[in-house]
């Protein structure tokens, strides 16, 4: 009961902040409203039991990605008369079309028989037992450090390349 109320509360915040993001003319204001959306999303993730994702949402998105957004905006020096071209008809049609596709996918997901096991994905019950056995974070750590260990290491290489690349491209004297 309480979780339902909380869900609608945070969903409302997320939608309100989302609308503010796309209607602000100042990109810095948009970015700040986006933080509100991120926090509301983190709360929703927590409500559905995805605690780790909720923490990541705040740590990475509201923290790190947001910093990048703001730096890019400040780096570009967008003057005061920005984004008039974003309101053209073509963009509206594109955005509307994307929204329709998203709705169609959502409708499809809701209409689908979610109890049927699809391939190896074993449904919410299996996830629940995993979480019960290893804890909310352990259920993520287990596949990450066993089955998908190789992917983790390649991600490490990717981050290393990102470090080298950032230094090479952006450092004033190399």
């Amino acid at each position: 009961m309480l979780t339902d109320i909380l869900f609608f509360f945070f969903a409302g915040i997320a939608i309100f902040c989302g609308i503010m993001v796309v209607t602000r003319r100042n990109p810095v204001a948009s970015a700040l409203w986006l933080i509100g959306t991120f926090f509301a999303l983190a709360a929703i993730y927590t409500l559905i039991g995805a605690f780790f994702i909720g923490v990541i949402q705040i740590l990475v998105y509201a923290g790190a990605i947001m910093v990048l957004f703001l730096f890019v905006i400040m780096l570009l020096n967008l003057g005061n008369d920005y984004q008039p071209d974003l309101r053209s008809r073509a963009w509206m049609i594109t955005a509307g079309g994307s929204g329709l596709v998203l709705l169609a996918i959502l409708g499809r997901v809701f209409a689908a028989d979610t109890t049927a096991p699809l391939g190896r994905l074993t449904g919410p019950e299996a996830v629940a037992t995993q979480v019960a056995e290893y804890g909310a974070v352990g259920a993520i750590a287990r596949p990450m450090y066993t089955d998908y260990m190789i992917v983790l290491q390649v991600t490490g290489l990717l981050l290393l390349v990102a470090v080298v690349g950032a230094v090479m491209l952006a450092k004033r004297r190399v």
Partner: protein, 118 residues
């Protein structure tokens, strides 16, 4: 599980209420007589230097990128730290290899002087 997050919810509620109350009280109680000096942005008490829409040096950006890389590394390591005993030596080895790769990056940027503000 979700119940254990109740304190965070209460904390959240208190902080929101606190902020609203403080701002609301100042708005209601304090006198409001602006002058051009008072409404200027506060820059450590000195007269303001230029506008706020100046372009920022790309040096900030290097720092931000390096921060993100190690932030993401944390994200990968937190689950391992939580489930370390459960994952055993194999998980430990995997985490050490991952840390080793990122340490190479750290040594590189250190020697390269990317952490210095020149």
């Amino acid at each position: 599980m979700i119940e254990s997050y109740l304190p965070i919810l209460i904390l959240l509620a208190i902080s929101v209420v606190n902020a609203v109350v403080i701002l609301g009280l100042t708005y209601l109680v304090s006198p409001y007589r602006p002058t051009s000096v008072k409404s200027a942005p506060y820059e450590s008490g000195m007269p303001g230097l230029g506008g706020t829409r100046d372009r920022f040096s790309v040096k900030f950006y290097v720092v931000a990128i390096l921060f993100i890389v190690f932030d993401v590394e944390t994200v990968f390591l937190v689950p391992w730290a939580v489930a370390m005993r459960d994952l055993g030596w194999e998980g430990f080895a995997a985490a050490m290899i991952f840390i080793f790769i990122l340490t190479v990056g750290l040594i590189y940027e250190w020697k390269k002087g990317a952490l210095e503000w020149d």
